[in-house]
Amino acid sequence: MSQQKLTIEYNDKVVRQFILACVIWGAVGMLVGVFVASQLNFWRLNFNLPWLTFGRLRPLHTNAVIFAFVGNMMFAGVYYSTQRLVKARLASDFLSQLHFWGWQLIIVAAAITLPLGFTRGKEYAELIWPINIAVALIWVVFAVNFFWTLARRNERALYVAIWFYIATILTVAMLYIVNHLSIPTSLLHSYPIFGGVQDALVQWWYGHNAVAFFLTTPILGIMYYFMPKAAERPVYSYQLSIVHFWSLVFIYIWAGPHHLLNTALPGWLQTMGMTFSLMLWAPSWGGMLNGLLTLRGAWDKLRTEPVIKFFVAGITFYGMATFEGPLLSIKAVSALGHYTDWIIGHVHAGALGWNGFMAAGMIYWLIPRLWSKPLYSTSLANIHFWTGLLGILLYVAAMWSSGITQGLMLNATAEEGTLLSNPNFLDALHAIQPLMLMRVIGGGLYLVGWLLLAYNLWQTVRGAQPVNGSIDIYVEAKTPAASRDSASAAADKERIGWLPTFGNGPVILSVFLVGFASLWMMGSGIVSALGIAGSLVTLIAGYALLYSRGKDWQDWYEKLLLNALPFSVLVFISVAAGGLVQIIPTVLVSKPDNVEDRLQIPYTPLELAGRDIYVREGCYNCHSQMIRTMVPDVLRYGDYSRLGESIYDYPFQWGSKRTGPDLARVGGKYPDVWHLRHMEDPRSISAGSNMPSYPWLSTNNTDVAALPSKINVQRMLGVPYGPLSPQQIFDDVNAQAKAISKGLREAGAYVAPEKEIIALIAYLQKLGQSENVAATRTASVR
């Protein structure tokens, strides 16, 4: 066999591009973060301008940090490490450039549309449908480029980092597409196909796993490449890689409902969300262990190497955040922490500590290698580290204290639990003002650190020569037919085939175990008992086989790692399972026909227009519409929310944060003029409120022309609107709007009926109205 030397030059150009984009968008995203945080302390920073209000800018902040900052960082890290781990140049320069520029264009489109109020009204899924399609397409470009590179690899086996990248690409595609399924009503507006409780479940299946598969798994993969590289030490444990990878990607998907604890979500889903979150603790810490313990024997580098400092701190924050997550998923802890700043602190421990520090470590490691020049200043990188660390600590400590204060004050009851200790919601807000200011300082410090990185990068790169890495490999010469036959024979020996992919101990046992456990959980009586018996038998058989056939299983897994497609299929099956078990029953069962107590009364056309204004202004960023099954919630806001009371809400607006009070039953609580004055200047009604003023609602006209198309789509989605002609819709709007306007005039305030505030008032006054269908349902059964 003769061998040929082949030099492969890596595509590091696209890596450099993504690094620069990451640094720039990171700074933008953090700057917007510091700004919106300041708005909570100083309401005047909303400037009475629609496109600068908190409700529109907070989605810009979250989207910029997740998709622009971490997104670009992920692409840089994935592309750099994958090429080296598989010894192949990225498959297509064209796709790489399309990926880069397409992604930047999406970010620019988001940065323009979000402040203008074009939104889908679901957290981290706000972008409007044309941009959704662009995201999906560019993600496919990424996937094709990545898997094509794998197909052309010169390294037979897949390293653990690649496993995580595969899981990322497949799962994000699945989550993104399902949660963005919408029916457009116009070029810029759509309604999601899921409503109410279904939308809530799908949204947090997506939202939670966006954290898992956009902010966690790709970064774990990056850790598995850059940490051993930087430390020059072996990875701690290959066994641990296997166990924590598979348990992490499988369990994560089931944990989404922990965002909806104590709500109207059916109880079994809440129990599932809580228990699977707890089971997620160990798999997450497996990643932390493998990251930190890789440093065994090289801890001294922690003193001298900024890269190692960032990695170690980042992985430590990962460990803290993945302990805090399961903790917050316990129902009783959620009762205290949910809707408060504690959650904000939790996500920032992840975003600033884990994502931000891993990004910084990776970038400092890459800069000299991508530009072939030593870093401009190591001491500046050290200053960045300490500034950033101080920033995070201030931020997280402030939000812990703030969240717990808020939770305790809002939940506190007096006189033997019969009354609220702090009936005025604003008392809690005023108590946390100093802590919110401390958060601004912490976030500001973190931003300063990031700007130091940007400066350091600029000073290093300026005038430097970009360098592409390369590698020499030896491949067999392709000429003699005999050797080609023997080569293909060797390749055949490595090919696993579909039957052995699925037909082997670990896969079959896992399928049986998940199936039986699902029967046990979901079934009742004999089915449940069958599930228990089946699980036990599978477990015992599994242990017996592990001891007798363990070696075969190992060989099977080693062989699987030589086969990217079968490996990817198994990954996809294990991430799809949780969603299927949760979403399908909910879509089938939790629908209007099955509601047994209170059923929402559909919105009139004017109220629907008002609701779309509520969504446009991002009210859900500060106001929930979900009174939990907790005494303090009921004492403060009224009877707890039922599943049927938001069943026609496309999208659902249960919310995830209470910077202001819950609005689920605000309808009818105050007169129309209260809402008018409150929207024009919240402080004229509630002294000390930090809500923005919305003067433009009194001058803008309601978009009535869009209503016929919107109502058609709502009808298509299952909201019981009769056949309404456009004229009937307009007449209905006019009549209701005039009545509200007339009432306001009688109360001493004049607003023309066609103004947006009239529609919004109509919507707010509708909140919490339902009919009791229990009686009619029972009667019809009889």
Binding site: N154, S241, T418, D472, W674
Partner: protein, 204 residues
Amino acid sequence: MSTHDATNASPHSYAAAPATAHAGAATDDIIREHTFDGIEEYDKRLPNWWLATFYGAIAFWIGYWFYVEQAQIALSPEAAIELELSRIEAAKLAANSANLDDATLWQMSRNAVFVNAGRETFNSVCASCHLQSLKGVDEGGIGHNLVDDEWAHGGNPTDILAVINNGVLAKGMPAWGPVIGAKKTSEVIAYILSHHTEPAHEES
């Protein structure tokens, strides 16, 4: 096609550091044969405490699911809150049994402790509509003026009590009594009455 590793031939020194330069520590650890771009892997067994955490969480899931979802031992969230709410209702009914009458409320309005406590509650809860001046609509507020001598819903202390307890929903006055409780309600009434004078009693 088979390949094997070549020396790392990067054109610059930074990427050329092989990850094999480790010695001394933990020589008994087995290193896996295959390396990826110079990255080596130990195959250390899983730490026991880590396994215990994992198995413990799984055991908790099984036990908790059985307890909450199947054995029907734990109350459902709805049943639990309904039980709590009926307990609260009972406590409130008991607390309200000492009925307030006009004379008592007037007496409270002359008691500085009551009036001061009432002022605080009033400013925090009522002033958004009735204003801190209590002049409400006459000074641009939303609620009625409470210091003039016009009473839309009756000016006796017990009438005011009824308004606060039940609200006047048609006019936009929420039922605050159940929210702030009997004690604070009586204090607020005392504060409002402190702006008025008790009419002279007819001899009886």
